[in-house]
Every structure is written in structure tokens, then in C-alpha cells.
Amino acid sequence: MPHMPQRPFRSIASVLIRRTIVLAVLCMLLVFSVQSWLLRAQHQKQFEMAINDVANTSVPLLAVALWDIETQAIAAQLQRITQKPEIGYARLQAAGGQRFEAGNPALLAQGVSRQIAIPSPQPVQGASALGVLELTGNPDYLWQGLRTEGLRILLGYSLLTAGICALIAFMLKQLLQKPLSTVAEFASDVCPRHLTTPLRLNRPPQAHSDEIDQLEAGVIKLQTALQEHIHNLDDLVAERTEQLERLLEEIRHLSVTDGLTGTFNRRALQDRLPAEIDRAQRYGRALSVIFMDIDRFKQFNDTHGHALGDEVLRNAASHVSASLRHGVDWVARYGGEEFVVVLPETELDAAMATAQRLCRSLPEQPLESARVARPAGGSVPPLTISASFGVTAYRAGESTSALLARADALVYEAKSRGRQQVVGRT
């Protein structure tokens, strides 16, 4: 499994919450700037309305107070005018030079000002107005409004954002984090042994399925597929193993079988014979060995060709094999035309009898080869083969090679006596 590079973990919820907060702040700023702009316009209008209001309500009263020279009433009236939040400073310049003011004179420099002439309630000679009222807006009122609005927006958005973030956190925890963590844990715990364990998210039942359900289904599908895949692999492995075993068996067979005759080969003999000797030695059983050598085989080969020679060898081998106790006695090709017959649990005389029987019956085996050229109409006697036999029994404690050497010597003895005979000795 390729290892992923280690990156710091950050949950989707925290990313979403961050994004939400950023978005909320941006929205808030946007709304606040729009609100500020609207508020500004509104305040302008409010100031104008306040001016109109003053012109309609306070000015007549001021006119009367000015006419009646009620300076306290004038001052009180100005105070009342400046109590309007839109108006920060009011100054009344009377026709006689007297001046009244209320509010903050510093605003005169920064605020918007309007002038209203105060008409005389009674005609006066040479004077059109009793005085001029100058009203200055209150920038603080706008700031205060903006502050209030800003706070309102901030509070509203904060609450909304907090709510949304809480909801996101909760929903994601419930809907995503737990199931995903479970899936992740499950996936990291998955191993062939646990593969059959189904994924369980334990989610409350819902009317609709969602991505997590899809994920769950996907995981289950993956699990099933993996399981099937593993299962198939098992079958495949079993099949291949069987094939291999067959092959091995074949190889093993080939490795101990002589390719030409189908008997054990020499290597098999060298493997098996010591085991037989061991057994005989351990249990004190009898064991005999027959050494068989096809007579004049070289000559035959030269005369009739190798193919026929081979057939001779095959025939001899199959004949010998057929005449033995199946599953007990066995034959191995020792050399070119030499065979060793191993007879476990067999005393020398019984081995001798077997050898005699083979000696007699071998030549009677016809050579069924079409390749033997026969002159037409000629009564050529069929080709026969014979063999010389050396028989010996195992002597307690002797080695394989000693046993074989003795049997070999006995064959040699049989050859020298004129072939096609059995020589046996313990």
C-alpha cells in the first residue's frame, strides 16, 4: 500500500465554518455599507424634515416669543429645537443684534446649515423679519445611527452565523464525521480475516438516502467484490496447486522412472533400495534382489537397430513387471540392459524361483514389432530375447552397494556359465 504524505488534518466542518464566517463577514460588510449609504440619505432627508418641522412648529412660537421679547422662552424654544436628534446647533440672530444659541457651536464648522427667517407676527416699520434662525445638522446623530445599525447588523449576523456554524458542526458531525470516521476506521482495519465483517454505521433510519448511504453501499459492494475476488483467488490457487501437484507428481515419477521402459531408474533404485534394506534390517525381514541382464543386447542392437533394441528393453521390462507381486516387488533399470528386481519379504529360494520363472518366460515373449524385417514367405524364427539372472539375499548389516555388487557378480557368473540362466547365492 503506497504511503500517503503526512498532511495536517483539518475537518470539513472547520473548513465549512471558516468559509461560512468569511462569507458572513463579507455579507455583513456589504449590507453595512449599503445600510450606511441608505442611512446617510435617510438622515439627509430626516434633517430636511426636521428643518421643515421646526419651520412649521417652532418658528411661529419663536416669532411670538421674539415679538413678546420673552428671552427665556426663546432660549427654551432653541433648547427644544436642539433636542431634536437631527439638529446639533441652533442660533437665532435677532433683528436688534441679540443672539441666542443652543447646542454645540463646534458643529457649525462641520455640519450642514439651513437658515430660516422669522417673520414678525405684526407689521413693524422697516423690518421684514424679527430675526434669522440658523440650524446646523448633527453629524453625531448619523454616527450614532450608523453605530446602532452596525451593532444591530453585527449582532444579527453573528447570531445567524453562530447558528449556521453550530448547525454545520452538528450536521457534519452527525451526518459526515461519525460515519466517515467509522468508514475510515473500518477501511484501515480491513484484512482478509475481517473482510466478511459487514460495515455498520448505525445511522438512524431516514426517509431519503444520501451520499453516506451511497458510500456505505459502495463499501459493502467493494467488500463483496473483494470477498468474491479472494474467493476466486482461492479457487484459482487450488486449481494451480493441483496442477502443480500433478506436475510435481509427474516430475517425481519422471525423476524415478526410466523413460524408456517405465520402470524405476537407477536414481530411484538408489533412493528406494536403502529404505528397503533399512526396513529389512529394522524388522529382521528377508529381502532379495534379482539382477537381470539382457543377453547379447549390444549385438542385437547393432543387428536390428536401436528402435528394436529399445522395444526389446520395453518388452523385457513390462514382462518382468507383470510377473511380480504388485505393490510389493519392484523393478529398476540399472544400466543399459540391466535391471534390478527388488523383492521385499522374500527369501532367497523364493527369489530364485521367481528368477527361474522369468528366465523361462522371457524368451517366450514375442516381439510384436513391425519393424522387424521379415523376408516374405520366409520362415524366419521370431526374434526372442533371453536374460541372465543373479539372485542374492540381503545380509544383515550390509550396504546397498555391497548387496548390488554381489548380485552383479552373480549375473556375471551367469553370463560366464553360458547365459540364460539363474545364479543365486546368499
Binding site: 415679538w67 413678546d68 421679547i69 420673552e70 428671552t71 435677532a94 433683528a95 436688534g96 443684534g97 441679540q98 405684526q122 413693524v124 416699520q125 423690518a127
Partner: protein, 350 residues
């Protein structure tokens, strides 16, 4: 023990200030009258703070019965009368209104003496119209004599009145207006209300000089307001009282009498301060069994006198050092069985 065996106690809530010439004169003349009648007079000044009259009244009404006065003399300055009457009604202290009684609309609402307010036994007012009428008439005559006409051939008059709500003030203004109506050559330019205050009158006069430069006659409702207006004239350098601008006023303060002498005041009416003393006479008689109901529960009597310089001299000789020489006993019906009708003028005292 008969009632009269005990000294009769009367409380007076003086609406003015202790240092206000007119109300000080009222105070002194009442104390002199109470001494001559053997009345125990208790006086408290509201110092022109009309809300404090209620405080004073409530404190008097809240006293234990033994310490309460038999009578209380009230004024209806700034419309405080009905509330004062309400405070004392049902306490057993009998109320009497002097100088100014309930206005006509107030009377419609609250009724007259001994009606809604059972303990309100009556009132005595100087005929305030006289003060306004007499001084305005004399001022107009002076203007005509001095040829104080404007370019339009009219006499331009300014009026500095006391207040808009006190009955006596309204009556004085009404008297002035009546005199103006009777004089076709006079234009009343404007009436302002200085609230009996010298400072406010000075301030308003400053404005008026600028607003009505052609006005040469100034009618004032009280001596202090006249002096305030003269101060403004001097401050503006707009003329001389008695030579380019003529003033009339009301009240017999020492300074007012001296100004009449020097010619700074063209006309002065006064003497109505005596209403307090006359009220004591009525209450003395009432207390001793002679109810004034036979003459009327609410008396309005001419007390204002238009002073000549000679009268002013006589007044100063007689009362310049105080009112020790004031003896009101000859005017009581209880003490003088021959008196059939109260003689509540002022000139007879000089």
C-alpha cells in the same frame, strides 16, 4: 371662653419678595394695621416663586389645630388662587383673597366665596383698572403737551406690563387700553410682559427701542419695571426720561415718589398697597360678628390715587419712615357703629 377673648390670628402669604418695594409696603402697612386692631399677624414671603406659595400653604394647613391661624389672606398671583383655596378648604382656616381674586373663568369653574370652597369667605380688590387707566391718561396728556408725536402725527406708546394671568395685572392693562381707545391720536405699539422684574423690563426695553424707534411714551405696570426700562434707555443712549421719553408707573415706593418729583416719571398711581390693611379691617369685623356680606362677598374698591408731586411729598412725610402712624380703627364697623359702609380709598389717609 368667647372667641374674641383670644387674640385673632391671621396668616398672610405674601407673593412678593422681601426687598420688593410694593410688597414690602404691603407688609409694613398690614403689620401696622394688625397692631392697631390687636390682631396677631403672621406673614410668609413666597419670593415670587409661585410654587412655593403652595408649600407654605400646605405647611400652614398641616399644623396641629392649636397652632393654626384663624384666617389666611391669599392673593391670586399667577393663577395660584384656586389651588391655595383648595389647600385650605375644610381645614377650618378661613381664606380671604386680597389684592387679586379669582379671574372670571376661574370663578366659572370654582364658584365664588362660600360656594364650592366653603371656607373662602370673601375678597377685596383695589380697582386695578384705575391704576392703568389713570396713569395712561396722564401719560398721554403729557405726551400731547410735550409734542411727542411721531412723524405720522401719532403718539406712539409702549406698554411694559406685569404678567398675563394675575387679575390685578390684567385689570391694570385693561385700564391702560381703555385710555388708549379713548385717545384717537395714540398708537399702542406693543405690550410686553416683564413679570414685575426690573431686569427683564430693562432687557425688553432694549429690544423695544430698536424695534419701535418712534415710540416716546412708555407705560409701565409697576415702579420696578419703569426703572428697568429707564436703565435700558440710559444704556442705549436713546434719550432722557422726562425730556425725550416719558414714563408712567404704579406704586408708591420711595424711589418712585422721588422720580415723580424729579420729573423722570410723568405719571404715578399708587396707594392700593392699603388693600392688605383694609382686608384686616374686614376680617376683624367678621371675626367680631359683623359679616361684610351686607356689602358683598367680593368687594372691588377704588384705592389707586394718581399722585401729584404735592401728594407725593405728603405721603413721604406721613409714611416715609414707616406706617406707625397708620390707624385703621376708625374704618371698622365693629369699633365704629356709625360706619355703615367701608371707606376703602387711600387719599383720605394722606
Amino acid at each position: 371662653m368667647p372667641l374674641w377673648a383670644q387674640a385673632q390670628t391671621i396668616a398672610f402669604i405674601n407673593p412678593g419678595k422681601k426687598d420688593e418695594p410694593f410688597w414690602r409696603t404691603v407688609s409694613e402697612s398690614m403689620h401696622a394695621a394688625s397692631r392697631s386692631l390687636g390682631i396677631r399677624l403672621e406673614e410668609q414671603f413666597a419670593e415670587r416663586q409661585h410654587l412655593s406659595t403652595f408649600t407654605i400653604a400646605k405647611a400652614i394647613a398641616a399644623r396641629p389645630a392649636a397652632q393654626r391661624p384663624d384666617y389666611v389672606i391669599l392673593t391670586n398671583d399667577y393663577g395660584t388662587g384656586p389651588e391655595l383655596l383648595r389647600i385650605f378648604d375644610g381645614t377650618g382656616i378661613r381664606s380671604f383673597m386680597a389684592f387679586s381674586t379669582l379671574t372670571t373663568p376661574e370663578r366659572v369653574q370654582y364658584g365664588g366665596p362660600r360656594e364650592q370652597f366653603k371656607d373662602w369667605i370673601g375678597s377685596l380688590e383695589p380697582r386695578a383698572q384705575d391704576a392703568g387707566y389713570l396713569t395712561a391718561q396722564a401719560l398721554i396728556a403729557k405726551g400731547r403737551a410735550m409734542r411727542a408725536h411721531g412723524p405720522d402725527g401719532k403718539l406712539h406708546l409702549l406698554a411694559i406690563a406685569g404678567d398675563r394671568s394675575t387679575n390685578s395685572s390684567i385689570q391694570r392693562n385693561e385700564g391702560m387700553q381703555r385710555a388708549v381707545r379713548q385717545a384717537p391720536d395714540v398708537v399702542l405699539q406693543q405690550t410686553v410682559y416683564a413679570g414685575w422684574s426690573r431686569a427683564k423690563a430693562q432687557e425688553q426695553m432694549g429690544w423695544l427701542l430698536h424695534r419701535h424707534p418712534q415710540a416716546r411714551l412708555v407705560w409701565t405696570g409697576s415702579d420696578l419695571m419703569a426703572f428697568g426700562a429707564m436703565d435700558a434707555l440710559a444704556a442705549a443712549g436713546a434719550g432722557q426720561p422726562g425730556s425725550t421719553v416719558w414714563f408712567s408707573s404704579v406704586n408708591t415706593s420711595l424711589q418712585a415718589l422721588q422720580s415723580l418729583h424729579s420729573g423722570q416719571l410723568a405719571a404715578l398711581a399708587g396707594g392700593h398697597f392699603i388693600a392688605g390693611a383694609w382686608a384686616l379691617v374686614m376680617l376683624y369685623d367678621y371675626h367680631h360678628g359683623r359679616d361684610f356680606a351686607s356689602e358683598g362677598l367680593e368687594l372691588e374698591r377704588p384705592m389707586f390715587t394718581l399722585f401729584t408731586p404735592a401728594m407725593a411729598r405728603r405721603y413721604q412725610q406721613r409714611f416715609g419712615q414707616g406706617f406707625d402712624r397708620l390707624d385703621v380703627r376708625p374704618y371698622s364697623k365693629v369699633l365704629n357703629p356709625t360706619v355703615q359702609r367701608y371707606q376703602f380709598g387711600f387719599a383720605q389717609l394722606l
